[in-house]
Amino acid sequence: MDNTLLISLSQQLASYRSMDVIANNIANINTPAFKRESMKFEEYIQQSQPAEGETGPQQISFVQDKGTLRDLTQGALTHTGATFDLAISGKGYFTIQTPNGDTRYTRNGHFTLDGNGQVVTEDGGVLQADGGAVTVTNDDGDIHIAQDGTITGARGQLGKVKLVDFTNDAALKKEGASLYSTDQQPNAVETPVMAQGSLEESNVQPVVEISHMLDVLRAYQTTASLTQSQEDLMRNAIDKLGGAAN
């Protein structure tokens, strides 16, 4: 098949995936602590045999999607007033023990209490403090969570929320439900900073996403018209050459 068509196809497939990534960013515009992603592309060069009348080898370059790059900038903090909403300011992740016993990490600090008084995520994953789970009883009264994560109730200190960090946090794998998993060893954050009664917003910026979306759309349409011209060219050639034979 003709190289022009194949090059166009490589661009069109890449556009489709780009569009998926942008759609996912926009869909998660209100997901707490969601980190936007962008698609990275790479040139893929193929050497082809010299055509008749040409001397050196020719190069054609295709496009291929190389990876999704996560933008780890901090989202804005919004005040919610809920006692167990925690926003991390700066670096770090909360450690969560899922109901299956897996360890996961998240920056989404929307926690509540479960029926046993444990601090949990929406899906029942248990927030890990320095000494494991934190249990709050009715006798604790109003709960205060200090900037460094120390949880205090009327009976005194209940625990200290553990914040961890990783050497390469771009390599954390997204698991959905705002959770990440990794094989890397977590390191405790030296000076954790968190805000009680606040949540970190998604760092998706509507303007950026919509303009990327238009970019991708236009690039896709341009390539499609390139494909069309190539096809016209071939049709023309067939007509002309076919006509000459008659």
């Binding site: 069109q12 489709y16 995936r17 569009m19 998926d20 990534v21 942008i22 759609a23 996912n24 926009i26 869909a27 998660n28 515009i29 209100n30 997901t31 707490p32 992603e37 990275k40 999607d65 190389k66 990876g67 999704t68 790059l69 996560r70 919610t80 007033g81 989404n108 929307h110 509540t112 209490l113 479960d114 029926g115 046993n116 008084g117 929406e122 899906d123 009715n138 006798d139 604790d140 009327a154 771009a170 390599a171 794998k173 997204k174 698991e175 959905g176 439900a177 705002s178 509507p206 919509i210 979306m213 238009l214 991708v216 759309l217 349409q221 499609a224 494909t227 069309q228 096809e231 016209d232």
Partner: protein
């Protein structure tokens, strides 16, 4: 096309968001109403290329992989149990809770329900009941000839009787707390019931450690902040619009595809 599905999850999530906000605004003047908030989570990811996969024998690895998300879902609609403002009504049977706790209501079928709305009244038999006529536990009867009734901060109900100087104690209103108030199930009519996630009810005297106190002649207003709700409504509406733009873009791409080679 995956983009369409992703954008539709976004639109559905924003629709839920608007519904929750509408309910908050509709209940702006409901006694003891607690505002709700929709919580979102990203959906599962498809791993197309795994970050950290080896790229050579010498141990070099891919610095980043390709993970394609599949949209968003509403994880929970949580209730924010902050204190509402107290407004003076002058009605002796209007009680507001200042602090934590719920009034304990006995339903006609004998089950238990809990409420923060203290707009009580007297039944034909002289019992303190809710505006629906359900008994406020433990069931305090006010004598028909009582001159006035006082409920103090600790929940003691006293009546001054004709010809007596000392007030007569009629009963004690207790408050109920839960390990996780956000886990209570709303039943409408300002009533909540216990669930597995709320934990079991623990009764206590108002004013004791961890329990709020009672304010007679006052009602607790809804804790809905209209300005915050309207701001949230604008955000939700714009987010909905943006997701619909993605649908349009995806549609455009598909149209372009179907027109390719079609002349």
């Amino acid at each position: 096309m995956r983009t369409l599905d992703i954008a539709s999850t976004g639109m559905m999530a924003q629709q839920t968001n608007v519904e929750v906000i509408a309910n908050n605004l509709a209940n702006m003047n409901t006694t003891g109403f607690k505002q709700q908030r929709a919580e979102f989570q990203d959906l599962l990811y498809q791993n197309i290329e795994q970050a950290g996969a080896q790229t050579s024998d010498s141990g070099t690895v891919l610095p980043m992989g390709i993970q394609l998300g599949s949209g968003v879902r509403t994880a929970a609609v949580s209730r924010i149990m902050t204190q509402g403002d107290l407004s003076n009504t002058g009605n002796p049977y209007d009680l507001a809770i200042q602090g934590s706790g719920f009034f304990h209501i006995t339903m006609p079928d004998g089950t238990d329900a809990y409420t923060r709305a203290g707009n009580f009244a007297l039944s034909p038999e002289g019992q303190i009941v809710t505006d629906k006529g359900y008994t406020v536990a433990p069931g305090i009867a006010v004598p028909a000839n009582a001159l006035s009734i006082t409920v103090n901060a600790q929940g003691q109900v006293q009546a001054s009787m004709p010809g007596q100087t000392a007030p007569q104690t009629l009963g004690q209103i207790e408050l109920v707390r839960f390990p996780n108030e956000g886990g209570l199930a709303a039943q409408g009519d300002n009533l909540f019931t216990e669930t597995a996630s709320s934990g079991s009810a623990q009764a206590g005297v108002p004013g004791s450690t961890g329990y709020g106190t009672i304010q007679q002649n006052y009602l607790e207003t809804a804790n809905v902040n209209p300005v915050a709700e309207v701001t949230a409504l604008i955000t939700a509406q714009r987010a909905y619009e943006m997701n619909s733009k993605v649908v349009t873009a995806a549609d455009n791409m598909m149209q372009t595809t179907s027109r390719m080679g079609g002349s």
